[in-house]
Symmetry: C2
C-alpha cells in the first residue's frame, strides 16, 4: 500500500506515518499538501497523510480549504502525534551555534518557538520554508550558510545535523492532528499498528444566508441529543464576502439514529451538510 505524505523525508508528517502504520507500507514524499491530495485522487497512491491541526497554532487552513474546494477526499483516519521541536545546525557549527545568522523552518514551527527565539535570537531573521524537513535538507546541503533550523529528531538523524538545543517549543502539550485521506468509496482497511484510538465523525455545515441564530439552531440539534462536539471551526466560503462554513467534529462514529437524525434536522433548517468522514483517531 502506497501512502503519500507531506515531504521531504523527516517532516512531522513522515514521523507520524512511520509511527502509525506497519512497515509493509511504502511512504512517498510530496512537496506540498495539494500534491499529496492530488496523488490520492489520481490513484498514484492509496492514502494521503497531511497535517490538519496543531494544538497550539490551530488549523492548517490549506488542508481544510483544499479538501472542501478542490479534492473531495474522505477522511478515513486521524493520527494525533506529540510535537517536539529542536534547534539543529550543521555539525561544523555545533560549537558556534549562538552565532547563527538566520533560522529556517516552517511558519508553524517558528511560531511554536516564539519565546525561545525572542530570548536567544531576538534580532536573527528567519526564512519560512514549506516544511521543517525542507529546512533541514537545505541546511545539510549548504554547510557554507551560517544557519539554524527548527525541526524534529528524525530530521537530525536523516540529514545528519546536530541538535544543539532540545525541546525549544514554548508550550508543553504540543500535538498535531494528521488526517488520513482516501478516494471516496474506496474502503480498504488501514495498515495501522496496534494502538489506542477514539471514534470521530467530521461534518461540514453551511448556513443559510443572513439568518440570525442559524448556528445556534445547528448546535441545538446536537445539544438536545447530548452529542458531544470536540471542535467547531469557521472558515471563509471564498464565495461571498464574510461568509463562513463550519467544520464540526463529533466524538462518536456515525450511527444509524442520532447523527442521521441531527443531519436531517439541520438540512430541514435550510443548512447544507456534508459528511467528511467517520473514522478512528489514533493516539501516538
Amino acid at each position: 500500500m502506497n501512502v503519500a505524505y507531506l515531504g521531504p523525508e523527516a517532516t512531522f508528517t513522515h514521523l507520524a506515518v512511520t509511527s502509525c502504520f506497519r512497515n509493509e507500507i511504502t511512504a512517498k514524499p510530496y512537496i506540498t499538501i495539494p500534491e499529496c491530495m492530488d496523488a490520492a485522487m489520481n490513484r498514484e497512491v492509496d492514502l494521503a497523510v497531511v497535517p490538519l491541526e496543531n494544538a497550539i497554532e490551530g488549523s492548517v487552513n490549506l488542508t481544510i480549504d483544499y479538501l472542501i474546494h478542490e479534492q473531495p477526499l474522505q477522511i478515513v483516519g486521524e493520527i494525533v502525534s506529540p510535537i517536539r521541536q529542536h534547534l539543529l545546525v550543521h555539525p561544523s557549527r555545533k560549537d558556534t551555534w549562538q552565532n547563527i545568522e538566520k533560522i529556517e523552518s516552517h511558519p508553524h514551527a517558528i511560531a511554536q518557538c516564539h519565546r525561545f527565539l525572542r530570548q536567544y535570537f531576538k534580532t536573527t531573521p528567519f526564512d519560512y520554508t514549506t516544511s521543517t524537513g525542507a529546512a533541514a535538507k537545505f541546511v545539510s546541503e549548504h554547510p557554507e550558510c551560517n544557519m539554524g533550523v527548527i525541526a524534529n529528531e528524525m530530521a537530525a538523524k536523516i540529514y545528519q545535523l546536530e541538535i544543539v538545543k532540545e525541546d525549544i517549543h514554548d508550550y508543553d502539550n504540543n500535538y498535531t492532528r494528521f488526517a488520513i485521506l482516501q478516494r471516496p468509496n474506496q474502503d480498504a482497511a488501514l495498515p495501522v499498528k496496534n494502538q489506542s484510538s477514539v471514534d470521530k465523525t467530521t461534518l461540514m455545515v453551511t448556513l443559510p444566508n443572513d439568518r440570525t441564530g442559524a448556528l445556534h439552531q445547528v448546535l441545538s440539534a446536537f445539544a438536545w441529543r447530548q452529542i458531544n462536539l470536540s471542535k467547531i471551526e469557521s472558515r471563509p466560503t471564498k464565495a461571498g464576502v464574510w461568509d463562513y462554513f463550519f467544520i464540526i467534529d463529533i466524538e462518536m462514529k456515525l450511527d444509524d439514529v442520532l447523527i442521521p437524525g441531527a443531519i436531517a434536522e439541520i438540512e430541514a433548517l435550510g443548512c447544507g451538510v456534508k459528511l467528511l468522514g467517520s473514522y478512528s483517531s489514533y493516539l501516538l
Copy 2:
C-alpha cells in the same frame, strides 16, 4: 498622532492606513505584527493598525493570539479594505517576466493567487516573506535576481517595479479587515476621513472545561435577544490540549441592556468573557 502599521512601506496595511486616516497622522512602519502592538503598548505610538482577517484566507492568527496572550490592547476601530494583487517585476525584466525563476510574497498573498500560479508558474518555487511590501523592496534592491513579487499598486509605485499582470487574485470580493488598536483606557478620537461605517463589538469567550453544549448555551444568550453575530471563531487556548476560546463579533455597539445582559448570563454559566472592543468598522 503616530500610527504604527505592519511595514515596510506599501504593504496592504500601509495602504489601509493612508486611505482611512486624514493626512495629519504620521504613519510609522514596523516589521512584524508583535512589534506594531508592542509599540502601541510602550507609548511609542498612539495607535497600531494590523491585519486581522482576510475574506479568502481567514484570520491572521498571530494578531489574535498576540492580542489575547501578550498585549491586551483594545480594538478601537476596524478598516475593511478591498485587496487587489498584481504580479510585479524589476523594470529590466518586464519583457521576460514569463521566465522568472522565483516568486516572493507573503504566504496569504501567494495563497490568494493559487490558481494563477498553478496556471502560469506551476513549477516555479516561491519564497515566503513577512509582508508583500518586504518582497517588493527585496526585488527592487536585487535587480540581479530573476524574481517576481505579488504585491499591490502602491508597492509598484514606491519601489518602482513594473506591473506585468494585473488582478491575479483567484477570487473577486477579496477584502481584508485591519484592526485599529489602542492602549486600554486611552480614548482619543480617531482621525478618520469622512466615510461610511457600521457598529461592532468583539468579545472573547472561554468555555468551562468539558461541558457538553456550553457553546450552544453561549449562543442561546445572544439568540433569544436577537443579537446578530457576524462571526464566531475558535482558537486554541495554548494552555490545554484541544482547548479553545471563541472570538465573537456582534453587529452592534455596546449598549446598556442587551450585551451586558448576555455577558452576565454567559458568566453565570461558568464561562469567561472579555470585551476586546466596541467600535466603528470603516468600509474603504
